[in-house]
């Protein structure tokens, strides 16, 4: 191991070491002071984020090209670490309130985040697989965290079975790709394919299986069946973390694999990706209309948003627009992460023990009783729909633009139409909040309020300076091609 190796993997090494230390420290902390672990975990995440930021602008390749540091990895690592910090912020009071506070919660989150970092940095299919598992296995446990509540246990088991099923596809896809090219390194795969040494049939099977596997992970239709059940059954703080972090990590791996290893397959894959994106947008948005439970509604909304992000994959084979489309995918991921985190934090604020307070009707009267909360929720709903002045709109504009420039006008039209449909169920929440009378019970808790406020503020303010963020995303993907 050289110094470069160490420096490249330093954020991950630190994070895992810190998680191991916290695991042991937790053993000696009395039950009523478990909150300390949360603070220590946030501290660790902040330090690691500092190191990642210090890596920005550098290009490093380590472990014989298995791990890289580039703009893409730094951009996504910061996103994942921020997701982790927010995930702990919304969990801190919630776990106490629900009586499920245990120190391992935060340790498992740290392990999961280190898996995400590994996925962002991976340049080899082996590392992508390891990152995927390191990310998923702690999440299986977290989904069942509210044990012995049956809903949570079932969510855990379902997530586990479907997740492991998806892993099977990913592993077999990697095996086929390896069989086609004789290597698992992304750079070598692309070189072999370019040199005409690859077995095209096997490569196509491999790419298709990888797409299925990651389709499960990012919850694309028709691989989405688990999403509503798991999102609903898991503790809401886990759901928020899962909806943002796991999805973003899945897209990170998909982008890295497809853009840097399979550009030559775009001719065959584009129709498939087109169909997948279209079905996901339509399916997610249509089923969301019928939901009365806010967690299920947001689950279908997250499926629909996976469809929007998948749109960015469709023109990836066209060198003229590929760069912009991948950058807009990253931009949309950030926009979705901020907005969706805010929305889940709102769900936590209104959720009460025994799964009460989760109906959309429970939000009635929020506009009168808690105007600030209602305003924040309105911002999130507008952003998820794509109505100005919010980040969600800007993200969609960038996405649609790159899709249209790539010549897929039909897909862009589907995107716009499904956004219109989605307005129905997002705005229904707003209508219920302001137009109906009710007596909503809101838990006011400083970390949670801070998260909601920050997310709402960022959603609005960043929408006025989108160019800066887009430039960041754009610089991040430069080296992918």
């Amino acid at each position: 191991m050289t110094q470069t190796d160490l420096l490249t993997l330093l954020p991950n090494i630190l994070l895992v070491t810190w998680a191991c230390i916290l695991l042991l420290v937790d053993l000696f902390i009395p039950q009523r002071r478990k909150g300390m672990i949360a603070l220590l975990a946030v501290f660790g995440l902040a330090v690691v984020m500092g190191i990642v930021l210090a890596q920005a602008g550098r290009e490093m390749t380590a472990f014989n090209g298995m791990i890289v540091v580039d703009g893409f990895s730094v951009f996504l690592s910061v996103l994942f670490l921020a997701t982790g910090i927010l995930g702990i912020a919304i969990a801190y009071g919630y776990l106490k309130r629900m009586g499920i506070e245990r120190g391992e919660y935060y340790t498992l989150m740290l392990f999961s985040i280190s898996g995400m970092l590994l996925m962002a940095q991976a340049a080899d299919l082996i590392v992508i697989f390891l990152g995927l598992e390191l990310l998923s296995i702690p999440l299986y446990v977290l989904a069942a965290w509210a044990r012995p509540r049956l809903e949570s246990e079932e969510a855990g088991l379902k997530y586990f079975l479907l997740g492991a099923f998806a892993t099977g596809f990913v592993v077999y896809g990697i095996a086929m790709t390896f069989g086609a090219t004789g290597s698992t390194r992304l750079s070598e795969i692309v070189a072999r394919v370019a040199g005409g040494e690859a077995v095209t049939t096997l490569l196509l099977i491999g790419a298709a299986l990888l797409l299925v596997g990651f389709g499960f992970k990012v919850a694309a239709v028709p691989f989405h069946m688990w999403t509503p059940d798991v999102y609903q059954g898991a503790p809401t703080s886990v759901t928020g973390f899962m909806a943002v972090g796991a999805k973003a990590a899945g897209f990170a791996a998909l982008l890295r694999i497809f853009v840097s290893a399979f550009p030559s397959l775009s001719v065959d894959l584009v129709p498939v990706l087109w169909g997948l994106a279209a079905v996901t947008m339509i399916g997610g948005n249509l089923i969301a209309i019928a939901q009365t439970d806010i967690k299920r509604m947001l689950a279908y909304s997250s499926i629909a948003h996976a469809g929007y992000i998948l749109m960015a994959f469709v023109p990836y084979g066209n060198p003229k627009v590929a760069h912009d489309s991948v950058a807009s995918a990253l931009f949309y991921l950030v926009a979705y992460a901020i907005t969706s985190f805010g929305a889940w934090a709102m769900v936590i604020a209104l959720e009460k023990a025994e799964g009460k307070g989760l109906e959309i009707n429970d939000y009635a009267g929020l506009g009168r009783k808690h105007p600030a909360m209602a305003a924040a929720m309105t911002v999130f709903m507008l952003s998820l729909t794509g109505i100005p002045p919010t980040l969600g709109l800007i993200g969609k504009l960038y996405l649609f633009r790159s899709v249209v420039e790539g010549g897929f006008i039909g897909l862009a039209i589907i995107g716009v139409l499904t956004s219109l449909i989605s307005a129905y169920y997002y705005l229904r929440v707003v209508v219920v909040m302001y137009m109906r009378d009710g007596d909503p019970q809101v838990t006011s808790e400083s970390w949670l309020n801070l998260t909601i406020g920050a997310a709402a503020l960022a959603t609005v303010v960043l929408s006025f300076v989108p160019a800066a963020l887009f430039t960041l995303a754009s610089d991040a993907v430069l080296k992918l091609f």
Binding site: P148, E153, L161, F165, V171, A175, F178, T292, D293
Partner: protein, 103 residues
């Protein structure tokens, strides 16, 4: 190599195993058997890896198998714990009965 089994045979067996595993997941309703089917899928991939690694004469595939085995063990630990937990609270591990979450 005289008298050795050609690569395509291994890949055929591995593809059959993978299909059996995938079908098992979709058809069987017992959580334990579903889980065993998933393991079958992983091992089908392992077989393919080793076969490809030998035919290319590189070690990558064999190393991957090590990782798959260990990761599968971690999955087993978590999965069995979840299955035992759910069996203790509802005395059934039939995945069709996991319906407290239909909205």
């Amino acid at each position: 190599m005289e008298g050795t089994i050609p690569l395509s045979y291994y890949i055929a067996v591995s593809a059959i195993l993978f299909t059996m595993g995938a079908l098992g997941v979709l058809i069987r309703r017992n959580a334990l058997i579903v889980f065993m089917s998933i393991e079958l899928m992983l091992n089908a991939a392992n077989l393919a890896f080793v076969a490809f690694a030998r035919s290319y004469g590189v070690l990558t595939g064999q190393i991957f198998v090590f990782f798959v085995i260990t990761v599968a063990a971690a999955e087993v630990a978590v999965g069995l714990a979840l299955i035992v937990a759910i069996f203790r609270s509802k005395h059934s591990i039939d995945v069709d009965q996991m319906s407290s979450l239909k909205g």
